[in-house]
């Protein structure tokens, strides 16, 4: 509470106020007006039809539950809305959604539900640029969402958050959502597979604030986002494999920051991906995407990551970059000890003396390994490291033409002594930080390609529900460099 007592003078307070200042006396005036917005909903749980009326249409599949060990709730046959079915379901139940467009923002708080669209391409949740999240799982373990599409949400297409163990996203499509496409925060034991995300200003796919994350992203396509993948302060058995990252501002960008818990980012394994043409100036983009623009794989301020056997080409800056993350105006410093079990309530105590923090905090990228990748057609260099030998980053057996510094694999080999890496890369890095990038395009207006019909879940109408559990970790040694598309 000491920092709560960090009272600042009225003059400073005036300087701080930039958006809303609620003037003294307003409270009493508003109170006299009745305080009519007591029951204001966030918009996150709005549905066309109330759950109450849904309950009246329940055909009562409890008999099915007796036979199968779970109940199946069909939308709209049993419940007019997805939210109605979710609210009525018990752990282990299956919710089946028929083709149609649903203008809902669904909140899920029941463990072990399986929420499945009957057809990925025609079960569409539409936020109409008014609703926040398509499906949001809050603090419920084991929830699987399968085989549907979420578009036009002001925040996220699909979202798992708040101390979750077990989540799964299978055969999902997220297009033109205002923050992330698929977003897991404070969640572990996750599988994201066979999914597609485009048109988000932050990342198409994101896993953040977890250690160990125990998560796998596989067989996904992420395009026309600010970042293809972003993961702040995540890692520990976190695998990004066998996927395509293209036409974003930047491709795969694990990173560290003080604004989330569980710092720093570490131990993310990136293997067997196609990463290309991530220099797209015509996407929506947050600041981090502008900063990272033009890089295929950028290990930014992270530790002990592995980028291996990826095919990376056509980038304005680097195919694979290892660099510090300069965080302006941090709220905390780099932790003295890294957390070993971190998920919820993870923000460390703020320092008593905020003035002691640096204006810019550099998260150093350390002891990362980049090997056996095939990297071509990078305008600055195929491989760039903006760190010194003491940071222990290593490079070997990559197929590449240019590096910064030159002879990188000789100076920083996977085996043997690390040598002085010079300062040339740092000079280039500073120039890139200062460089003005094409501004973000409004996510509501950005031009996106029609991805066409996406592969739908096999046997969606008959498959047994399988709540999410710890995924099977891949044997990455069996993954080879993928062929380039024709």
């Amino acid at each position: 509470m000491t920092y709560l007592r960090m009272l600042i003078g009225a003059g400073s307070a005036r300087r701080l106020r930039s958006i809303v200042v609620v003037l003294v006396g307003f409270a009493l005036v508003a109170s006299a007006c009745g305080g009519a917005s007591d029951s204001t909903a966030s918009g996150a749980a709005e549905a066309d039809v109330s759950a109450e009326s849904d309950a009246e249409t329940d055909t009562g599949d409890d008999d099915a539950a007796d036979d199968a060990g779970y109940a199946t709730h069909v939308v709209p046959d049993d419940f007019a809305t997805i939210q109605g079915a979710v609210d009525a379901a018990r752990p282990g139940d299956l919710i089946m959604i028929a083709p149609g467009t649903y203008s809902e923002a669904v909140d899920v708080t029941t463990d072990d539900l399986v929420i499945r669209g009957m057809d990925r391409n025609t079960v569409i949740l539409d936020g109409n640029f008014e609703l926040e999240n398509g499906i949001r799982v809050i603090g419920a373990d084991g929830v699987a969402v399968e085989n549907m599409t979420a578009i036009n949400y002001t925040k996220n297409g699909f979202f798992w958050t708040s101390d979750i163990t077990g989540y799964r996203a299978s055969y999902l499509t997220a297009i033109r959502n205002g923050d992330y496409g698929l977003y897991a925060f404070g969640a572990r034991d996750g599988l994201i597979e066979h999914s597609y995300a485009s048109g988000s200003p932050d990342a198409g796919f994101y896993i953040g604030q977890c250690y160990p994350c125990n998560a796998v992203i596989t067989d996904v396509i992420s395009e026309y986002n600010g970042l293809g993948y972003s993961g702040t302060n995540s890692g520990g058995d976190l695998y990004i494999i066998n996927s395509t990252w293209r036409f974003n501002r930047a491709g795969i960008v694990p990173n560290s920051g003080s604004y989330e818990g569980c710092a720093p980012e570490r131990e993310t394994t990136i293997v067997g991906n196609l990463v290309y043409s991530n220099s797209n100036p015509e996407t929506a983009a947050i600041d981090a995407a502008l900063l990272a623009m033009g890089n295929g794989i950028a290990l930014i301020g992270g530790i002990d990551n592995l980028a291996e056997r990826n095919r990376v080409w056509d980038h304005d800056v680097a195919g694979i970059a290892v660099a510090p993350f300069p965080e302006d105006n941090p709220i905390n410093g780099v932790p003295d000890e890294y957390p070993t079990d971190c998920l919820e309530n993870a923000i460390p105590a703020l320092p008593d003396d905020a003035a002691s923090l640096p204006g810019t905090l550099f998260w150093e990228a350390q002891t990362n390994v980049v090997r056996e990748n095939v990297i071509t057609d990078s305008r600055t260099a195929d491989l760039i490291v903006v760190q010194q030998a003491e940071h222990g980053n290593r490079f070997c057996d990559n197929d590449f033409a240019t590096s910064l510094p030159a002879d990188l694999e000789t100076l920083a080999p996977c085996e043997g002594e690390l040598q002085n890496l010079g300062g040339e890369a740092f000079v280039v890095f500073l120039g890139l930080i200062e460089e003005t990038r094409p501004p973000s395009v409004d996510y509501k207006l950005v031009e996106l390609p029609d991805p066409g019909p996406q592969p739908t879940m096999p046997d969606a109408e008959t498959a047994e529900p399988e709540p999410a559990r710890t995924p099977e970790f891949p044997d990455t040694t069996s993954i080879t460099v993928p062929d380039a598309p024709e």
Binding site: L4, A13, V22, V24, T161, I286, L350
Partner: protein, 135 residues
């Protein structure tokens, strides 16, 4: 007999009056308008909104203090007041990274709120402001 009944009625009425009248008076006295209101004291306290939590979650300030929520994270947030009684009539607001909102709490009490984008009152991104009586 009737005198006895009348006496009983009188006693009951007295007891009832003794119980009910104060309750009625308390009800009248504790309307929002009559809760203590403290003038702004010129002080400011800070809650930082990060990804995706308020830090600190529990803030304690004296009545009359202006509380500033500053978004230091990468995600946009909002503040949805749960406890509008006795005096928090703060409107639902959204604020982007780098932005801030503020409110002067003038009445002691406990005020719960949350970011509806990233949670509910009980999970995800809740917060509490405890406003103490400076006197």
């Amino acid at each position: 007999m009737s005198e006895n009944v009348g006496g009983v009625v009188t006693v009951l009425a007295t007891i009832l009056g003794a119980l009910v009248l104060p309750a009625v008076l308390v009800g009248v006295l504790l309307t929002d308008a009559d809760l203590p209101v403290f003038a702004p004291n010129g002080q400011t306290a800070l809650v930082q909104a990060v990804d995706n939590a308020f830090a600190p979650v529990d803030a304690e300030i004296e009545a009359g203090t202006e509380l500033v929520w500053l978004n230091r994270g990468r995600n946009g947030h909002n503040i949805i007041p749960e406890d509008r009684d006795p005096a928090w009539t703060f409107e639902d607001v959204a604020f982007a990274p780098g932005d801030e909102v503020s409110y002067v709490f003038q009445t002691p009490g406990t005020y719960r709120y949350y970011c509806s984008i990233h949670g509910t009152l009980t999970a995800g991104m809740p917060g509490v402001v405890v406003v103490t009586d400076p006197s």
